[in-house]
């Protein structure tokens, strides 16, 4: 008897769209945030608690390139992750086409302004 076995693998052309990237971004940024955000929380909120936090402390940290990069990464990953998460939530509950457009625009602007504003604050310190 001839046998006929095995799994057929097939290549397909998939159209990409924003949601697909957003979805992937949420997962990949999530993995990065596990280190960055949890690390940040541990260092800044547990090991050094808020009572030892001073202007000088921040200034000292940002004097080092390492911390600058760390905080910059955190900012540039966590904020888009969070804002996109908020977008997901809002798109669940807000159905009007124009309403959601307006909200998305506001969130995008807010995101860009925040990234530039806060990013500049870190970079130029």
């Amino acid at each position: 008897m001839t046998t006929y076995s095995g799994i057929t693998r097939r290549k397909v052309q998939v159209q990409s769209n924003f949601e697909r990237y957003a979805f992937l971004f949420m997962r990949l940024s999530g993995i990065a945030l596990l280190i960055l955000a949890v690390g940040h929380m541990m260092i800044q909120h547990v090991l050094n608690d808020v009572h030892s936090l001073t202007l000088q402390y921040v200034a000292d940290q940002w004097a080092s390139w390492g911390w600058k990069v760390y905080d910059m990464l955190l900012l540039f990953i966590a904020l888009p992750h969070g804002i996109n998460g908020l977008r997901n939530v809002l798109e669940d509950y807000v159905h009007g086409e124009s309403a959601i457009k307006t909200l998305n625009t506001v969130m995008a602007i807010f995101l860009i302004v925040s990234l530039i504003g806060a990013g500049f604050a870190i970079a130029s310190f």
Partner: protein, 145 residues
């Protein structure tokens, strides 16, 4: 609007299993962290743009209520992080879905194991700061001297 309220109400009323409550917790935690993050980003940026505002902000953060909030934040980040990793792993490894009920338990267990000691530690540090005789309940005035 009524449909939004209905949705929210039924999301709580629906008798789902682990995954359902993890989803609620993940969503709430994510939104909570975001709210804090937005404040935190701008407040920290003030180190550069407007130091007195920054000083005032960290003074406010030393208030025990904010201390409790900080513990909450810690919990939110930890749960959201672990659960986020769970979702990511299972998304990329569909064959692990068989164990989904277990993964929910594992995430909660891991969360408790990590969070409880940290929470106790953080709580004790709040208490110890209030124990110095200073009136830790009073809000600071602006600008901080």
């Amino acid at each position: 609007m009524s449909s939004l309220l209905l949705t929210l109400r039924e999301s709580v009323r629906y008798r789902g299993r682990g995954g359902h409550y993890s989803w609620i917790a993940h969503r709430l935690a994510g939104l909570g962290i975001l709210a804090f993050l937005v404040i935190h980003v701008w407040e920290t940026a003030m180190v550069n743009y407007n130091p007195p505002v920054y000083e005032y902000a960290i003074a406010v953060f030393k208030h025990p209520l904010f201390g409790l909030g900080e513990i909450g934040l810690m919990g939110a980040v930890l749960f959201h992080a672990f659960n986020g990793i769970r979702i990511t792993l299972l998304d990329f490894k569909p064959e692990w879905w068989r164990h989904q009920a277990k993964t929910v338990t594992i995430v909660w267990a891991l969360f408790l194991v990590v969070f409880v000691p940290i929470a106790i530690y953080m709580l004790s540090s709040i208490i110890s700061h209030c124990g110095h005789g200073s009136n830790c309940w009073a809000f600071p005035t602006y600008p901080v001297s």
